[in-house]
């Protein structure tokens, strides 16, 4: 089995897993299971990155999503009226419209993917160490402004979200 064939098989496997767990997120009644399904879906995406030889991004995706989804599971339990799904509440609306929108989006994307001419394959890519070095130079060189803007945006969002979440002074005094 050649390297590219193995890559294709693993890519299809992890791609199918990512999609399947993504569907499970909206099919299960238990919110904790939803958060776990999203965690598995995002981990499968990280594994797809590893299969595509983007080692740094793959590890980053898995680590980041593991933390993010754990936080999400906690929020689910805090905010949901029925986090365990025992009451089998229906928490959906405009199902038909959503199905049509999702279906049309999927078909349009598939049409573009399968009808476009993507050009010849480029099988050789730099090694993991070279990729990390190139990315570092990119981030601290040509793309520094964009990278710094992203950092500043996260900081602003953190401060804004904390300010929104803090109870007003009146409420705290009561």
């Amino acid at each position: 089995m050649t390297g590219m064939t193995a890559q294709m098989i693993f890519l299809a496997f992890f791609g199918a897993a990512a999609v399947w767990f993504g569907i499970v997120v909206f099919r299960t009644k238990s919110m904790v299971r939803s958060a776990l399904a999203l965690l598995f879906s995002q981990t499968a995406v990280g594994l797809m990155f590893l299969v595509m030889q983007a080692e740094f991004l793959g590890v980053l995706q898995i680590m980041m999503m593991a933390t993010e989804m754990s936080v999400m599971a906690i929020f689910m339990v805090m905010f949901m009226m029925d986090p365990g799904g025992m009451g089998a509440m229906d928490m959906t609306h405009q199902k038909r419209l959503s199905l049509w929108a999702g279906g049309i989006g999927l078909v349009a994307a598939l049409a573009v993917i399968w009808l476009a001419a993507w050009g010849p394959a480029v099988p050789n890519i730099p090694g993991a160490a070279q990729q990390a070095a190139d990315l570092g130079r990119e981030l601290l060189g040509r793309s520094m402004f964009i990278f710094q803007s992203a950092g500043l945006t996260i900081l602003t969002a953190m401060v804004a979200a904390t300010m929104v979440a803090i109870a007003p002074r009146k409420e705290r005094k009561e």
Binding site: G22, M72, M91, T92, E138, A150, V164
Partner: protein
């Protein structure tokens, strides 16, 4: 035809469709955030696939992946900030009950 690219993009398209369905059909704010996360994950898959199979010599593509990850973090932060504020004032994060935001 680059079959590996097609497989990755097809998985990305399926994730996009699922995420779009979830974001539009769910009534709970946290579930809507989950749908948006899936859509952004689809964008990540596409970006890495384009980098790997079309332009592996271009590190800027990987930089865009980091930017999308930052967008995911920001989206979650702001979403949960709003969820906490909403839960505190109304005791629920059900979007069916937030019709006054419609304008």
């Amino acid at each position: 035809m680059i079959l590996e690219l097609m497989i990755a993009l097809t998985a990305g398209a399926a994730m996009f469709g699922t995420g779009l369905y979830g974001a539009l059909s769910q009534t709970n704010l946290v579930m809507i955030i989950m749908g948006v996360e899936l859509v952004l994950a689809a964008a990540l898959v596409n970006l890495v696939a384009f980098w790997r199979y079309l332009h592996p010599e271009e590190p800027a593509a990987q930089m865009f992946v980091l930017i999308i990850m930052a967008v995911m973090a920001v989206e979650m932060t702001v979403g949960f900030g709003i969820a906490i504020a909403r839960f505190r004032s109304r005791g629920s994060v059900e979007m069916e009950e937030a019709r006054e935001l419609k304008g």
